[in-house]
Symmetry: C2
Subunit: 427 residues, 2 copies
């Protein structure tokens, strides 16, 4: 297809009218679909139902003699630590198991740093200004946490191989107010890209001006591959940091929310022993411990890391065709028109679409008008402000394939209409 | 028995030698028992095993159409709110269901007040000094939270009908630095006493100098009666506060940790709609929501508040004889000697023993020497400092009855030995 901008005005007007009619038809079909979050579909969630049979009233509720149905084991049961450690490629002593939400763990890290400081350093609430680097586009809930604590967020461009490391180095290594960077190193939310080895090594080799600087390493999509034969793998950050002489520079976050039941999984903080010792001081004040029966359920359901990988293949079987629907629709309908770009991810939950500058909000609004709710434009940027108004996060997991085909129809119509309006300066 | 202090010196020396021999014998028997926490016994926990059969892979995981095995319902499922609301005598809109730990909810309230303030008021970290009133003896984990945040704790004597309300009023109504009071209004930890109606009404009628003052009302033992025929009931605090013109003055905390499985239950924050609106601002940043499948399990296991009450009778059947062992041993061995006082609670998990002043630490140490670990002396006071060194928390729930008989033997021997040492000024 020829780029729209090369079409003559009349052709484009005709195309616009044709698309407009199609759009009105689609709108009239009464679509009502929420694709705003990276939520597994109902059918997909079903594959974890076996987890509910693992424990019954006749089960042994001890594991190596440890009673999982009474108080104790503040940091989680050893078997759960082992399982998570294997998945995230560290040692069990680097793991503390929490409740069901890794987001909550991230919140806790920031909150504790704010109230009590990191490993003896001045609490952030007693420091003048705290800044975080935010690779963009990124995860809205990360940005929401730092915004909630009044932390100044600095946009860092995210490329196919990771954040702009020149920029990261120049901020981190010179400005003591920069205390952290939000990273989704693998199958990034929303771009689906993964950090290259060079990026990870440069992260580990940072020489922060602030001693309480940490990498906030969100391993949300660690085992969330779409394909058997094409998978991203990244270097293990704790090990890299250790080798670079910064053993305490990373907090790694993990949860099974998109492995078993969203909201009913187990989550973990993964870090150096010194960092975990710092965390324990708070943990023992904060809680009597997390749900050990749910840990036991997960341990017995998966047995080991191989069990998790096998389970993830079942998820992929649901997700792969949906990603293909989105990608093939974009290729068929948008490719060549030069009104948008996107990446073909090998894992994760999202496809990131970049429209012509200044069009994202309008595309999302246009889609909504026809019954398709997308993640709000701008949500992938700190403060909800995409300076280009270009990035849109597509979350294909929740709808059925039939709904998704319909949804993508609405989406590409919206993209085309808004793009033509921009090119023709119609609005 | 005649009070020890009225015995002549020689009698007392003889008694001491006799007790000493008995103690050495007990010590040689090799007892090794941890009675430091209010932990249900292994057999007692078994009664909740049915909870593990409620959900299986073939269960309907929706409740009134709401999907409990996917993301969503940040505040918990409506049915769980209804169940908890009925138990704690409020409306469902006054309830937010959290994870497994009410302690964690309390931590969150303090932490959020510290970082973001209460309903628009200046965050505590930006105020000069924050103070909390601490009825004593009280719960060590409450005091640990306030100490962690550098909050000055002020001891308030706890009487049989509640805290010294004259003192509470004089602090709260005049000092704007006083932001809260830790209350365990029913079957208090550790005294087992409950607040009288007058105490609750005076609490609700406080006119705090600080607008961000709140009652931190820990309903830990709300349904934890020991007897069918003798039960404490207290006035519902939210309603009392509302009627007194202070609808937002109380945060109430609840969990099922000592109802179903300790550490694998559900917990709730109960408060006015305005307070909950304030909490929600944080909650949506902090987490994607708590474990709804565990909420569903609890809802279906109990069906309603009556189900909970019936279940609690089974707990009482385990606890009652243990309380009786402690109380009858104290009555048989200590009564009349004037070396200690205690209260006969109708519920809860503890019996609070007050030794002669200056003896508690020694009694605990003496017990430990013979293999019996008690809650550390002083733990029931802020900063671990019992000014009288007199209060000891006895937690009879965990040991078997046989172990408890042995343990109480060690305990009364320790009490007697240390008391005679004090009276004779032997040490």
């Amino acid at each position: 297809m020829k780029p729209y901008k090369e079409w003559d005005r009349e052709q484009l007007m005709q195309e616009y009218d044709r698309l407009r009619a199609e759009y009105e038809k689609a709108k009239a079909s009464g679509l009502s679909l929420d694709m705003s979050r990276g939520k597994p579909s109902a059918a997909q969630v079903e594959i974890s139902r076996g987890l509910l049979d693992v424990l019954s009233s006749t089960s042994d509720l001890t594991e190596n003699g440890l009673d999982c149905c009474n108080y104790g084991y503040l940091e989680g049961i050893p078997e759960a630590k082992e399982l998570i450690a294997d998945i995230v490629q560290v040692e069990p002593e680097n793991v503390i198991i929490y409740g069901n939400s890794s987001l909550n763990i991230m919140y806790d890290q920031i909150s504790r740093s704010y109230t009590h400081g990191v490993m003896g350093h001045t609490p952030w609430c007693r420091q003048d200004k705290i800044k975080f680097l935010c690779p963009v586009p990124g995860y809205d809930r990360h940005f929401a946490i730092t915004e909630w604590f009044g932390i100044e967020m600095i946009n860092i461009p995210l490329y196919d191989d990771g954040p702009d490391m020149d920029m990261v180095e120049s901020y981190v290594n010179t400005d003591p107010a920069v205390k952290g960077i939000w990273c989704v190193p693998k199958y990034s939310n929303p771009t689906g890209t993964s950090y290259s080895d060079e990026t990870v090594l440069r992260m580990a080799a940072l020489e922060p001006a602030a001693e309480d600087f940490r990498l906030y390493w969100d391993n949300a999509y660690n085992v969330h591959h779409l394909y058997d034969d094409r998978q991203d793998e990244i270097l293990e950050i704790l090990q890299c940091c250790k080798e670079a002489g910064h053993p305490d520079m990373a907090y790694k976050f993990f949860s099974t929310s998109k492995i078993t039941f969203p909201g009913s999984g187990i989550a973990a903080l993964v870090s150096s022993e010194a960092n975990l010792a710092d965390v324990r001081r708070q943990l023992k004040i904060q809680t009597i411990g997390h749900d050990k029966l749910n840990m036991l359920r997960h341990v017995r359901f998966f047995r080991d890391e191989v069990g998790v990988r096998e389970h993830m293949k079942k998820h992929a079987a649901f997700l792969r065709p949906k990603f293909e629907i989105v990608l093939s629709t974009l290729e068929r309908e948008i490719e060549g028109l030069e009104i948008g770009t996107w990446i073909r991810p090998r894992g994760g939950y999202f496809i990131s679409f970049n429209s012509l500058p200044g069009c994202a909000k309008k595309i999302v609004a246009r889609s909504k008008e026809a019954g398709l709710v997308l993640t709000g434009a701008g949500a992938t940027y700190p403060y909800g402000k995409d300076p280009e108004d270009s990035n849109i996060r597509i979350a294909p997991s929740y709808p059925t394939e039939e709904e998704l085909i319909q949804a993508m129809q609405v989406f590409v119509l919206s993209v085309k209409l808004v793009s033509i309006e921009k090119i023709l300066a119609l609005d």
